[in-house]
Symmetry: D3
């Protein structure tokens, strides 16, 4: 077990299956696979940054569940509280687009070990012993009623145990099939959290009038507005991608903290190896920054934004980057070199 | 649509995902995929032998379901009665063993489009118009209560429409999770069929005393015994694999017809490319033989056994063989040559 | 067979063999293959858009010819009139360039089943029964004297049968080795057609003074001029690629119809997965548009241009796109997103 | 850290690089890699059998060393005492033979982080705190003078700390380049060990008259003779491969314990996926057996032999098998089945 | 240029295209390629054995022809007399069988640069300056009338220049399409040769009563009979494969020399990596043996047989073996070991 | 051997091992390999341009050394003076970055056959017989004291034999571990050379005040300054990459000759297949240009710059381009087309 102050993340793990070389799903006979899941990605990135982290989930007790568990262990994530039970590991098929063709996801996660969880599946008191931080995302309550109930228990327990609680809204339009809409579930949970990544806050929190946040100014406005609505939040962050007709993306992050807004540099993203997990990389960067530079919000948002940008260069769902690489990116502003 | 006398098969389609080069599931990052499913395999083999065939199933209306449909069409199978609905395509993960390590299957087919079918999902009257033969297997009722009910309707409708009905018992120990045991469902359906491939008849039909059929003599005894118990059956066939300590397999098929037993040559199988689907290849060979050589049971069982043997040389679930190749194998008795 | 009004396309099918990952032909030991051929590509795209289509060609009666036939069937193309005869399937080797290195093609199609065809190889009367549209391209008469003669018969028969006839000039400098230059063959055939894609009209039709069409204005001028020279043509279209020094391409299509010129939006193409077949995608989009929106030439040219742009994102020769994807591209103007 | 009684193994880790599909080194452009090293393989197998184990080595502090460390962690091996220092990770190139062509190894391990170790590189007292078993092999002192000295310290410390000490002689003719011959180093170390796998004892221990052990009878004689020469040894085991002209191998293990000889079943090995690491699999099986069934030497040698046989079916250097699979093999005697 | 006494081989080079992993041609999207051609294979093997050798052929002057030329140069074959002209490089598609499925070849070599050659395409006087040996095979005259005429010129020139002339009959049923049957062409050319590999002599030389040579005794009889019919021949060799029902092959070679018959050991071949080119490996071994051990026919036939057996273990068409490996095989009689 | 006037290059050869598809070293199980080494790359490019060239190095006498030797021979490089001795072939692992992630090299070349060379390892008099040009780079003396001494002998011998001597400074920060800093070794060797590629001249020649050369103007200033300090130099060239925030590179070369400065066009590089070896491609282009167009410095620098730009499109270390392709690039200014 980790020492006092370690971080706990909780969520569903999935296998991603993708055709190689931009083949369409209808063309491929071969799939490349990666393990993913938003909170698992956050855990992996934090472990690689050197922070102690435990990841909590349910995995089926078969070779796929074990392979997922081993993957997490390989990257230094604590797996002491992973429950090995349930019938299947969730999957998603990812057709990787390019240029004018968007990437497309087919979810196949219904009935997964995580979705089949009931409210008190996880012994939260035990899990949180000695922990200092709890991170969850809006995907958890989107998956099933049971997962939503377990998430609610988790947030309440974390709060009770005095942990810092962070949440990434992580809107996924195609989930939320189990009955309740996000706006019926999320606001209460966000009210028990300290830190929020607030992209798509409008549908997730039932705030139709909130600015969408397509550019830094709008995002700043949205963060400020949210700080009024959720006075419990200590930090509120959003990220923006501004895309030009040829597909170049201008990536910027904004963070509100104690009435002050800080904005990261704008990065120009042109060549993308793998976009999936950029938001999780941002989230991990944010947590790392808030833990490491609690008094320097500018450094926090810069580090988090650089994490998201760096993730675009790495195959798979997790940001397998080191701290020094992120720091280096903030110095040079671009890559495109050979270090030899 | 096919002309009068075409064959209809009905069952579930699955994607198989396998690591390459005998890697274990816990070692792989890449999966090779094939479409399979017992009755789909039978349909593909029959189409390649030149018989008109329609395959009936439910597939999800997404890129995976469409890819499966296109695969069937590619090989000449009629897809006019495939229902595009439901949530997911069933999967199975196949770890390919070798030598002293058996192959292992992880099924992930719960909640598939096929399993979610209800009793009257398929317009059987329409499907059977102009058809002459209906084939199903014991996997169908193993999958879910709905699929079992639909299968019962299918068999009854086929019988009513005057079709020849063939059944492969296809025992799968890990299925049959929905409530009823096979012995509560299968006997009645078999009683409405004309032709039976009877491997594992003991658990499937609730006949604990039936010989298991590990060698041709035992198989012959079992067939004879079954002919007494199910007097409706016109042909009863079984296949045996006798394995020596180094893994060589002696493969023989036996068929009972009208009180007479015929036995195929025994083939020695040493090098296996892909064993999955050998039973379906046998089934297709049996149907092809019964249609083509109705008066020559020896030729029928020889052809069917050679189909199963040939299948071991072909990657994937279906026996992508031509009639001439099977005929050639029966002449030469082995391969190991270069035709140039 | 398809119902009245289906489309017939006629041309040569080829196997493309390419090294992966931008390797040069002199570096590779492995080739990726795709089936292609201009008119086959048009047929596949139309079938995927939901229009009934028959593709006519000659294929050798071996496993390669059959694999090609099955490929077409897989994508829903009718193969009822494919003649299985001749010695070989044409090939081409494609070295895929990048950046400052152009892609290079080595044709190996001499003596193919298609090239060996004689004038009356195809029973056109039978083929055109119930058909409404015939499409051919300038590659057919470029291949051999026999193919040229068969094409002439096809065009004449189609005209006689009252079909709409469309032609893509499809200039290939390295073909036309059999004796006649294009300008001796094409003008007469174009005079019997209704719709023309007119890129490279100058060498193909022997019109040295025609504007080349490097930009939309020039293309418009060329279309107008052609409309005067070939008054039989109801629609004349051209496409332009304007390339900047870093390789970005600005892609625009122009169409003349009944004295009116319409111009598509200009798409910026930066990241190319596979450029081969973009012209065929355009052609299929044009046919689909003219069939579906006969009174809206702007919509036609927009749809066709978007097809060509979308094709750049798909590996292989054919535009494996759905109608909705093309429609979506016209709404958003770019991709670069994840649909999940 | 592990609890009291855990196992410690110590040795060099290497990257194996192999061409795929039996290509020769002079033909390949692509290498498959696995991490290996005799004692690392033993550790991985023990961890997968569920025993607590720490692996001690030196790895360079670069991405290759880290990847190796992560690989061990992935499979559940403790990495708390791995020293991250030195210049390079040792490599070996393995050309995988087949049939009449033997496999060939090119070692490239000179100057590795492990070889560059000096006598007191490892804090053995700390390492052995709470441990119950120490395993080393004859490869360690073969690598360099420093590694030999460190091994001597390790064995002495382990003995002093009261641990059980096991040794696999692991003769490698091409190593031992640093000065001393094996017979000058090994006997003294073996005299401080409790358990010995004694293949190639003749060159390793300087006993020219010892039977080589090509068959079980000879192996038994050699074990008995060794028990007289090294009265400290509690268990002495040897394995034999008897190869017939077609390459089938008859594999048998023999163990001497307290004056009694036990012999495993003889396994017929015909199809080999990967032979490397079979000896390490045997060693791990032996340790597992001695820990788990201390009073049943027959069960120990059977389990160990089955481990070695099973390893031939798994790609890579380590025996990624579970206990149950080994137990199952001992029951069925062969594989060649599909578990579904 | 090589010194006096070098060897010249003459024939057609081809690209082989094969699906991987035993996929059928109708299943694959990827082809592995190797350069081959009987006489090129002989040249490569001789060069790797250390003998100076020039290979004469025609190759198209494109990237494929150049890649083939570079391949030969890579392995040390002299390419000074390769003519770069003609339209295409011949191809063949090889579907690799296994077990009961034979391998199948689709030739696509009509119209190749070699086939298009005319009688005096090669400046034989220049080519043979300083050479000591000329090797050709029965494939050359099978390809086209021009190639047959050029071969006749080559044999006559070689004889005139006093070279040793060797011939491998190399029967290919599917070639010989240009008009003359083999029996009309070959006998005269064989009469001008000194050494003959005589498999399939019956159809190639028009000798219907000659024993076929399925076992060593029959082969010996055939060689003896041929020595009477062709008294010019100094050595006549044949090879036999006796296949058992499980596909194991017993491989033996027989050679007649000056009235004496020598027989190689019989090798048991069970696991085959690639059978293509085994005959060419035998031929190269025979030439190497006759050059190196002119007074020891037993050693010659043993070496040649071992070359053929060893070739079964190497991917591709050529026997990339060293002399020492062949010698080693003759000592150990089998492989199945790891040299480390 | 080559005729009078051939070129000799001297340096170390390495195997490059890279993960595919931008995977990180910690993610990959498969490595792609290429042979490289600065001076070997120059030799390969010159041989493909049609100039006679011998490459001098030491390679280990194992399958890797032989494979490297064969690779050079394949591309037409003379290998007559390669010494087959020493223990190992140097390696480097290349993690290929993308976008904001730089590529990273792990060198593993210590103790290589080249590094282990002593001062008089190469018989330079023999090597230089009939040669006209000697090329070396600053990597040679960076590797080891022995290699530095051998390089000094080479340069002195070449000068004495009246050869033109060219040098590429080729700064590699991580080498130079053997004792002397570059500034203690290089100036004297540069003083004996005629042509210099002078990137990173500041650290290599100990000139802290020299302009770094980030843009053409600075580069021109540096060249001019160097021409004063090293009056022996007849040509001094530098190349600049100006990178914008999205990673596009503007590539320009500058050359000083006899007091005159010439500047190449500026190429915009956006899509990079493989950047390694661009400097070597430039060097080969410079040598080719100086040999072919001795009176046209503008043509020389244009050709050399186009070589470097073209190299970015080719996988591997060497510029496998033909002269005509480079000439074509100078005409069109970009690629992005299909030549068919």
């Amino acid at each position: 077990m980790e020492g006092p102050g370690h971080i706990v993340t909780f969520g569903e793990s999935l296998i991603r299956l993708s055709p190689a070389d931009h083949l369409r799903l209808q063309q491929t006979r071969v799939y490349e696979s990666f393990f993913g899941g938003a909170e698992a990605n956050v855990a992996v990135s934090l472990a690689r940054f050197g922070l102690p982290v435990q990841y909590v989930t349910c995995l089926p007790d078969n070779d796929l569940g074990l392979a997922c568990r081993h993957y997490l262990r390989q990257h230094g994530v604590g797996v002491d509280f992973i429950e090995m039970r349930g019938d299947r590991l969730g999957l998603y098929f990812l057709e990787v687009g390019s240029g004018h063709r968007p990437s497309r996801v087919i979810y196949d996660r219904t009935g997964s070990a995580f979705a089949a969880m009931d409210a008190d599946a996880i012994p939260w008191r035990e899990v949180f012993a000695g922990a200092g931080w709890f991170h969850w995302s809006g995907i958890n309550p989107a998956v099933s009623a049971g997962a939503a109930a377990a998430t609610a228990q988790a947030v309440a327990s974390a709060r009770q145990a005095g942990l810092v609680v962070s949440c990434d809204l992580n809107y996924r339009q195609r989930l939320w099939q189990w009955g309740a809409p996000p706006s019926a579930v999320m606001p209460d949970l966000v009210r028990q959290s300290d830190i929020l990544v607030a992209n798509a806050a409008s549908p997730m929190l039932g705030l139709p009038d909130l600015p969408v946040g397509r550019n830094p100014a709008e995002a700043a406005a949205a963060c400020t507005q949210l700080s009024g609505l959720f006075p419990n939040l200590r930090q509120i962050a959003m990220t923006c991608r501004e895309v030009d007709p040829a597909g170049d993306q201008r990536y910027t992050a904004v963070m509100w903290q104690a009435g002050r807004l800080v904005t990261s540099p704008t990065f120009m993203i042109r060549h993308i190896v793998d976009r999936v997990g950029a938001g999780d990389a941002f989230m991990a960067g944010l947590i790392y920054g808030l833990v490491s530079y609690p008094d320097d919000p500018q450094r926090v948002v810069d580090f988090a934004a650089a994490c998201a940008v760096f993730k675009h260069t790495i195959p798979g769902d997790a940001n397998l980057a080191g701290r020094e690489e992120i720091a280096q990116l903030l110095v040079t502003g671009n890559g495109y070199d050979i270090i030899r």
